[in-house]
Symmetry: C2
Subunit: 770 residues, 2 copies
């Protein structure tokens, strides 16, 4: 740990009072502390009302009929019987008035509608029902008679591009031209290389399966609609719903006070949102539509998988000379993104003069992708960080040393603009030191069937800067309590806690006296959705500016009473006092103008990002694994995440992000994979928590360390915080793969590293050695 | 109608852009229009969720056991059986931990506690129960065994002050020294008078019985309490509950989006508020406590009645020389106010150099008073306006002429400070003209049993200025929709509509694009309770200032884009344009800084009231009645209210206030009276809507006219609005009494003028004449 980099606890003498939106915290008393969440009680006691807990009087339950085939045409649909079922209050089909709504609201993919007559993946919505109980709704679904014309399906991007493959869309399965990037000349680079390695990697499609499933409750009052949705962005839901239903924004209120996890899949509305709204309209009753677990596996999105080829060259001293990358993947039946951002780590993490990347995506008969924690990045990292270890081996270098050799302080992918700060070097060095990297690498290999190894991975994240727009309001009340009002969602990451700590810092108010109103389009300001590791860097400067605005007003009022200059006044623990004359002090409640007003309101806006610079977080993760060569099992023994995300705003939520990201990365590295029946039906065979294996407590090491690398970034924004939520999961799987290689000498290029595959590779290794 | 006084529709050329909080609207496009309420659909369709409509999952129903005696001591209480009843989840008695809470929270009357062992009126709370259904709760109440030691009761303020009367409090029944006021010398005044009249008047105790009964729903989350209460002031409920339960303000959130009428009785919390909170705490479930209609008659407050003696002297030309007033009344068992403000009309409405008033109150064994629409004023007006008619008759003057003779432009009761404006003269003159006063008075008396007469009454109102604190926030969103955020309650008077119209005026946004968040301590700013005719004059200047702040920011941003001075820019219908150069125009959405921010927030505070001046509304009401001399029935044929309340902010809500106030005054004048069994039990005999007669549609004339007297008041505040809600009901009953006198020659000094009493007086008149 490099103490010199830790500035936030160092007392700084004579800090001038920061002007709103300009300067930075230097010394902090609250920010950075490991304080419990402000809503911990609510979350733990069950008192928190998540959208799925919202129950309104006379509320109906909606359910969605889904196509059971990977590819089929709806020939006919008869809902007559369903409409007469007990408790049924509304049935919605493609023929219902108002149901002819274009879909998708966000992606630029091929056109579709809410209930499309062509179903392009298992789980496409075909009809919906609202009934008095969920059971009645599901019974009614079964009574809807649908005749499907089942068509052949294609489930794999490789086969999808073969001639004669079943077409997902009339235009074919190719998503336009491949996306390409090039700098320098890779041929020259490879010519200059002393060593070259090349490998093909495969990454699986991973499924979104947050604890709270997707859904909402919709209620109409006249022509005004209120939606309680489990969402990462109430303003996204508001604008997308308003657009789909042709309503003014002011007629759509969206509330999402709690979210049981989103990870990117709740950034946009789902068809369930519009279905709930339409069913509520038709039945003139509030309607709740929350998906079943199986439905979330089928239709709320996934992380694209695919095949990647990466070739890397380096000089004898380790200097990278060329990177050549090619990817083929799919965003499912509708999304054109697919392999987008697969190449970002390759383009931007390590200094390399010659880089070429190419990404191709294909439509397949499978559920659509949706952003999943660091879109594209873990995939690319899986390739890059393994190829670097391959290079290091060929060069006879330590993997850590090779990475340190290729550091950069500019973003080459952005035209060589400098980073406002980069702590990647410290992440690698301090992380390695704290992990005990050198000693672990130096350990002689084990002899028996149980072997151990260590691995590391580095990363950057394309976003994480945050940015405007962000607006916050801070209200200071007569009894010294405070209301913090902001539009952003707290998707479980602690946004409310972090922002309240920022207010507590500036106003000297204890956390328990800060009431937070958030994530409600009716009561808060516009905020972008909470995603992309941008919530803290986006919102915290606005919150700080609002608190400072509030403080400045209070100090100005106090200055009148105390007959002193504002500049010499300080606000601490409900008291304003002069730093020049200790006799001049006043409880906030005694400020005469404040007594009259009883409320002081601070408004804060977030300023623009610095021009001509890149704001990015960096990380290095280190792990140790144990491999049972007889069973192929891999146990992760310990993990350390060294993260440069700028200022640590709240130590507990920070650490939680690191741990959570590592756990998610373990799933990618070791256990998770969507399995489609590619040969026959194209249907998903593991659409439940038994067969789709997310890490459990037993798969996660007890020994997890979060090591913040707190680089002082004076330029990124006025709080110095960079994004954290996504880098924490980018290099995890690759670090595991490197550790497995270190333990066994077997390089697993296909994720996840499951025991069967590992045993096959170990057997092949034995054969080669024999 | 004096057209010269009507300024608001007159186009004024070249109005300079008003600076925030300084100047006045002159020309308005939205303000003043007769626009329907913004929440009309919700209210009419039943979609509006009043606090009594709030139903939470797992909610219990609370019910309160009330003493059935006017005066009793609780000797013992056994709730053992009740606690075991089906569905019962919590029983609360005086012995329950935490129930020992001092009461009253607001009045300065004698001390009591939540469940007092001495019950001083029928309906005092003795215990409470929460159960799964209301029926189970009420069944459980009946199972609570209470042994009462019933004591003699005193129900009348006159007898309460007699020696040997049963004592309400150990200190006796007198509420301290009488309150007195004196200016000039009444003896000198009466000496100078040519005519003197003197009369004794009686006014009844009137009961609060708003459409939505009193109550709340309370829910705890940990140590945080949320209350949905039918209240006129969520911040009152917040602070009083926090104080009673020893919680910080930030731990008590109060929401009161709709209120089914308050009229002063919902300004403070009730015992039901604390009972709901304590039951919810004890049962760990949300608890709803809403009173039955009978309970509201017993315990939510009343308008004090009593006896008044008024003597008035005038010179031959009508000039008042002296007024001498004395009142005896009661605020019930606890309130010391009683006859407070009975004398205000006498002190301040007409110019009179010599005035003496005296008010005495006594405690009686009856429910406590609470403010009821213009506390004290209708009572005093009942005396004053009748005595003036008596004077006029003696002087041979028209009652209108007498009143016009004694106008004043200063508030004598406030030390002769001038009014910022007074339209009393115009109210009288324009009202009389519009009503056809002169012709109606000149009509020869009818011969038969059915006779007609006209009467008038004038008034002022002690409050109605409004004043700080008031804070509002206006948020302008990217799609041109607006959020208006203010803490005040809309108690059915149209506050939301009036304030939204103020925003629409300044920002040029249609009403339907304005979303309003209000009356929620968790999401809004501190606001004083909605009462005392002060909501519009208190809140509208803050709302206007917020809208102007918002506009100024938008114009400043647009000025940057248009490269022009702010001063020449105007905002209209979503467009900013230069008044100098028509080619310079920009849709708000195109302003580049606004595109980045997506939200612009205006904050507005209400400034102080003018120093050394009085801000008061004035009114004159005119009515025509028909009296059936055989049955004693009085029918009100028509009513006209000419009101000077400054600027008319919203014509429909304005008129509604006038009509509603007149209806309430008809109840006072003709039908309403609390009847206690004074001779024996002291209990109320008409605690229901059958026996306590509030006016119905059949009692109200179809011919009601609201005539706004829109005096331009540049000093009162920045919108020019003065209070309206209370003057509308002050002179109504007296005007009816004067009309009855005009029709019959019988002066009814005891309200209400019921047929029995009127027949007695008509018979006595016949005897005198015979």
């Amino acid at each position: 740990m490099n103490e010199a980099n830790y500035y936030s606890r160092d007392p700084v003498p004579e800090t001038p009072e920061p002007k709103q939106g300009q300067d930075h915290w230097v010394e902090t008393r609250v920010v950075g502390q490991p304080l419990p969440r402000v809503d911990a009680y609510q979350r733990l006691s069950g008192a928190a009302v998540y959208p799925s807990d919202v129950n309104l009087p006379d509320m109906l339950y909606g359910a969605v009929l889904r196509c059971p085939h990977a590819h089929a045409r709806v020939q006919s649909l008869d809902a007559t019987a369903a409409e007469k079922m007990p408790g049924v209050r509304a049935v919605l089909t493609a023929a219902s008035p108002g149901a002819d709504i274009p879909w998708q609201p966000e992606s630029e993919g091929p056109a579709s509608v809410l209930f499309d007559s062509v179903c392009r993946f298992e789980g496409e919505a075909v009809a919906a029902v609202a009934a008095a109980t969920p059971y009645q709704a599901h019974d009614a679904l079964r009574a809807i008679e649908v005749v499907y014309d089942v068509q052949p399906a294609v489930s794999n991007p490789l086969t999808a591009l073969e001639p004669g493959a079943p077409k997902v869309h009339p235009e074919g399965n190719s998503v336009g031209e491949p996306s390409t990037y090039e700098r320098g000349d890779v041929n020259t680079g490879f010519d200059a290389a002393d060593v070259v390695v090349e490998e093909t990697f495969e990454v699986p499609f991973l499924l979104h399966t947050p604890l709270e499933t997707h859904g909402c409750v919709a209620r109409w009052e006249g022509d005004k609609l209120t939606i309680w949705e489990s969402t990462q962005g109430v303003y996204n839901v508001q604008s997308q719903t308003a657009r789909a239903l042709d309503l003014p924004l002011s007629h759509v209120r969206v509330i999402g006070h709690y979210v049981g996890g989103g990870f990117g899949s709740k950034l946009a509305i789902g068809k369930y949102t519009l279905i709930a709204a339409l069913l509520a309209k038709k039945s003139a009753r509030p309607v709740k539509v929350f998906l079943s677990r199986e439905e979330t596996f089928l239709c709320v999105g996934n992380r694209p998988g695919g095949t990647m080829r990466l070739k890397a060259g380096a000089r004898r001293d380790g200097t990278l000379t060329a990177l050549d990358f090619e990817a083929l993947g799919s965003g499912g039946a509708y999304s054109p993104y697919g392999t987008g951002l697969f190449d970002w780590q390759i383009r931007d993490l390590y200094h390399c003069p010659n880089v070429r990347t190419k990404g191709q995506s294909a439509y397949i008969h499978a559920g659509e992708e949706s952003p999943m924690r660091a879109p594209g990045h873990p995939q690319g990292s899986w390739a890059l960080e393994q190829i670097l270890d391959g290079l290091a081996e060929k060069l006879g270098m330590d993997p850590l040393e090779l990475r340190l050799k290729n550091l950069t302080t500019v973003s080459q992918a952005r035209g060589d603009i400098p980073y406002t700060s980069t702590g990647f070097k410290e992440c690698l060095e301090d992380g390695a030191k704290a992990f005990g990297w050198a000693a672990a690498r130096a350990r002689p290999p084990a002899k028996g069937a149980i072997v151990r190894g260590v691995g590391l991975g580095g990363c950057t994240w394309v976003a994480g800067a945050g940015g405007p727009p962000s607006t916050a309001i801070v209200k200071y009340f007569a009894d010294g309590s405070v209301n913090l009002n902001l539009g952003a969602s707290d998707i479980g990451t602690g946004t409310k806690t972090v922002m309240a700590m920022g207010v507590a810092e500036e106003l000297g108010v204890p956390l328990e006296r800060i009431q937070i109103e958030h994530a409600d389009t009716g009561t808060t300001e516009f905020a972008t959705a909470s995603g992309g590791s941008k919530t803290v860097p986006t919102e915290s400067p606005a919150v700080r500016a609002a608190a400072l605005d509030c403080k400045e007003q209070l100090l100005a009022m106090a200055a009148d009473d105390l007959e002193t200059a504002i500049g010499e006044l300080k606000l601490e623990e409900g008291e304003v006092f002069s730093t020049h004359d200790p006799s001049k002090r006043l409880a906030v409640g005694e400020i005469s103008q404040f007594q009259r007003r009883r409320t002081v309101i601070g408004v804060g806006y977030r300023g623009p990002n610095p021009e001509g610079k890149a704001v990015c977080p960096f990380a290095a993760q280190f792990c140790e694994v144990e491999v049972n060569k007889l069973t192929g099992e891999v146990r992760v023994l310990r993990f350390l995440g060294a993260h440069d995300s700028g200022r640590v705003m709240s130590r507990l939520t920070y650490d939680n992000q690191v741990y959570g990201g590592i756990v998610m990365g373990i799933g990618f590295g070791l256990t998770e994979r969507r399995v489609l029946d590619e040969k026959q039906t194209g249907k998903m065979v593991n659409k439940n928590w038994h067969d789709y294996k997310i890490p459990t407590a037993l798969d996660v090491p007890a020994d997890m360390v979060s090591l913040p690398i707190e680089i002082q970034d004076l330029e990124c924004n006025t709080t110095g915080a960079k994004g954290l939520g996504e880098p924490v999961t980018i290099p995890t799987a690759a670090a595991i793969a490197n550790a497995v290689y270190h333990a066994t000498g077997v390089r697993v290029t296909e994720a996840p590293i499951n025991p069967t595959r590992l045993l096959e590779l170990l057997a092949a290794q034995d054969e080669r050695r024999a």
